[in-house]
Amino acid sequence: MAEPRRWYLITYDIRDPRRWRKVYALLKGYGEWLQLSVFRCSLTDRDREKLRWELARRMDAVDTLLVIGRCGGCVERVRAINAKEDWPEEPALFKVL
């Protein structure tokens, strides 16, 4: 049960402001808010499934969700095209604040 993690872009379209706020707050716990309804998260398979389950409980049938896995190559390209946006190779394993 090795736990490598991958980058994901997660975008959503939520029809109700109350549900929208809940989803937004949940995603903030898993990753970084990029713009409007787009998040960038570095997740293990377990995180990803847990997040999808938690999202499923907060969302409604009319809402939509898109989870896009990004391989190392894709991330490289994002970096090359969009140099100003910093897209780290690996999230830091510790932080001193």
Partner: protein, 553 residues
């Protein structure tokens, strides 16, 4: 005496078995035991995906859930869905995976068959006289497998319940399964460590022990900082005039470490406890005060720990191996650091010789006091030799000249003490997450707020996680003798900058990987700490002999 031969008590005096647990039982008896008796549950990706499947089915309006219990059967559980079809009650169960291969038609896996059979019996008891049929829907292959509630299935469920009772009454953890391929898919493999047990028999094995916890360790090292919570984020607010608050996604944090005067709100604490984030406190001088987090439950593990460590033979045996491992670690570091350096070798030769001479004495030590003596003698030789590992051009103010602590009186000891605190935190957190009790050890006496078991296990890691990186960093001239330290006439402490440097040194070291000399796979020092604690637990649960066997090269 083994209690596993006791016959099960009559049904009405015993709590019933969860239907779901029969599924685990049919898969692997050890899995059943770990989950139902030891209360260990690790949710992996498959479990969350399964929950999502059930959640979606619920939204599509397909499900009628039924909570059922039966004293006569000794079972309780929640049935996924029951429907009536032409006078027959059809019990449905949904599975994400594929169906079992069968000679002609798709089949149900034995564990699924058992679980649905148990539901069917519960339904039958609730609606007497109505015929019952079983169906399992396998979503990956989009097949539905049907089978009747016949005499054979009734028999299977009854004997599974009897077996479950027997296991529940037993104090012995069943052995790892013979069917090795099951372990690769088992969510409890990182806890059960089947390959490490099989390793004892030799041969190369796949690695099931997990890679690094990829979540971040958050060190809050600025006095006056406040840590709060805003829904799913931890918000770290530095004191006035020291910058903007920083927000951390909560699920990406594995531990929150507070150094000195840091305030953590009760909402943030509650969030940490709920999300399995350890919280640890250090004094501003770098002494480890203790922490929060890890195992609730684990009653059985703790009871076994108490029972095992109360036996003098077990405690003393472990203490002997611990001290031997520590001395050998010191010895190997001296050898390794002086490799290819003839002058250093000569000076160190006598220390090495003396340490070597102490090793066989550990194995024969008649008591803990004798071991303390051997450890002390070893420490004197080792710390006496350590200055010779420092390069010629090291600033005299960073030279090591004997160990001192509380408070440290020189720069080297200030960092060393701080790093030992970090190691202590690591070990304590691992002991908690494995479900053992830090308060019950086998070698040390309790000291201050420190639990003896943490102090015990820590002995294995002082050299690789503190001494080695510190000596190397001093030789690399990483330290700024002025800016990194606060010096008074009585003591020397790390400054804010120095503390950040020490944390970085430690955190990087802990992620370095290293190939285990006995188990044969590579893992980081951070994982090694947890692995050692799990192997320690095995000393009294059937597979002794693996604890404290790792050696530096």
């Amino acid at each position: 005496m083994s209690t596993s031969v006791l016959s099960p008590k009559p049904a009405n005096t015993e709590p019933s078995i969860r239907t779901h647990a029969l599924h685990a039982l049919a898969y692997c008896e050890r899995l059943f035991y770990l989950e139902e008796v030891e209360e260990l549950r690790v949710a992996d990706a498959a479990i969350y995906a399964g929950r999502r499947l059930h959640h979606q089915l619920q939204e599509e309006g397909e499900r009628v859930e039924l909570e059922l219990a039966s004293e006569a059967l000794g079972l309780h559980g929640r049935v996924d869905a029951v429907r009536t079809r032409e006078g027959t009650l059809v019990v449905h169960e949904h599975k994400r995976g594929r169906h079992a291969p069968a000679p002609e038609v798709p089949g149900a896996w034995p564990s699924d068959r058992l679980q649905v059979g148990a539901y069917a019996l519960l339904v039958e008891e609730r609606f007497p006289g109505v015929p019952v049929e079983c169906r399992v829907r396998y979503h990956q292959t989009e097949t539905t497998v049907r089978f009747p509630l016949d005499a054979a299935l009734r028999g299977e469920v009854a004997s599974a319940v009897a077996r479950a009772r027997l296991l529940r009454a037993s104090r012995e953890r069943p052995p790892v399964t013979q069917e090795e391929r099951k372990c690769a898919k088992c969510s409890l493999a990182p806890v059960c460590l089947p390959e490490e047990e099989r390793q004892v028999a030799g041969e190369d094995r796949p690695r099931l022990f997990p890679e690094d916890d990829v979540r971040q360790v958050l060190h809050v090292a600025t006095p006056g900082t406040r840590v709060g919570r805003a829904s799913e984020e931890l918000v770290v607010t530095p004191p006035e005039g020291e910058g903007a608050p920083s927000r951390q996604p909560g699920r990406m944090v594995s531990a929150l470490v507070a150094h000195g005067a840091v305030q953590v709100s009760s909402q943030a604490l509650a969030y940490c406890v709920e999300n399995d984030i350890g919280v640890h406190w250090f004094t501003s001088g770098g002494r480890y005060l203790g922490g929060l987090g890890g195992g609730t439950g684990h009653v059985h593990r703790r009871m076994r720990q108490f029972e095992a460590l109360r036996q003098e033979s077990v405690s003393l045996g472990l203490a002997r191996r611990l001290v031997a491992a520590k001395l050998e670690g010191q010895l190997r570091f001296l050898l390794r650091a002086s490799r290819g350096d003839a002058d250093a070798r000569e000076v160190l030769a006598s220390a090495v010789r003396d340490l070597r001479a102490l090793l066989p004495k550990c194995a024969e030590a008649p008591s803990r006091d004798v071991l303390l003596g051997l450890e002390g003698a070893g420490a004197a030789r080792y710390f006496g030799a350590l200055p010779y590992l420092q390069g010629e051009d090291v600033d005299p103010r960073l030279r090591f000249d004997g160990r001192n602590r509380r408070p440290p009186r020189d720069r080297f000891n200030a960092v060393l003490g701080f790093l030992y605190g970090m190691v202590h935190r690591e070990v304590d957190a691992a002991i908690r997450s494995v479900g053992l009790d830090v308060a019950f050890g086998f070698y040390h006496q309790p000291r201050g707020s420190a639990g003896p078991l943490g102090l015990d296990v820590m002995e294995l890691f002082r050299v690789p996680l503190a001494d080695m990186p510190l000596v190397a960093s001093v030789n690399r001239r990483t330290w700024d003798v002025e800016a990194d330290f606060e010096v008074t006439s009585e003591h020397v402490w790390l400054s804010k900058a120095g503390r950040a440097k020490a944390i970085e040194l430690y955190e990087r070291r802990k992620r370095e990987t290293w190939k285990h000399n006995v188990l044969g796979y590579s893992l980081s020092y951070a994982r090694l700490v947890e692995l050692e604690v799990r192997l320690l637990e095995k000393e009294w649960t059937g597979k002794p002999g693996l604890f404290a066997t790792f050696r530096l090269r």
